[in-house]
Subunit: 94 residues, 2 copies
């Protein structure tokens, strides 16, 4: 179920907004929530858990904050998957 989960995670605009925020910096859950004023902190937490399950982000604890940051390698996997459909001469897809 890995790839479906990843794509589903990216399909949501709210979750893409989180990924955009993390492009610049690693941020705590609270910092992410205050950058997304339209949804509650509980909802942000729910989205973070899905992004984490999809391995698009990783978390690390410091004091009583939880910091989140991007995991670039999953985006590379998606690019590889896409490449098999772009008439590219490299048909190395499994």
């Amino acid at each position: 179920m890995g790839f479906s989960e990843t794509m589903k995670a990216i399909a949501d605009p709210q979750r893409r907004a989180i990924l955009d925020l993390l492009k610049k910096d690693r941020l705590s859950a609270g910092e992410i929530a205050s950058n997304l004023p339209d949804i509650s902190a509980a909802t942000v937490s729910y989205h973070l858990s899905l992004l984490k399950r999809a391995k698009l982000i990783t978390e690390s604890k410091y004091k009583n904050f939880i910091y989140y940051e991007l995991n670039a390698s999953v985006f590379e996997e998606i690019m590889l998957w896409c490449a098999q459909f772009t008439g590219g001469s490299d048909e190395k897809a499994k």
Copy 2:
């Protein structure tokens, strides 16, 4: 709503199976349906309509068949979107 729709379309395993079939050949709706024995023709038609709305495939009619084929350019757009997250030196994302 374009990008969300595209990613949502790809997130479904059944729809990815359709994309995989179309990698080799263009196929009619019926040919696609007989390659996917677990779901009904009506369901295949529903998935095809979503893939079409997401511009991942295009259709063309011949006799009373409707043929579907891949549209590679949308996969390229996804790769571009992904590239902004892979520490790549090219930060040209909009």
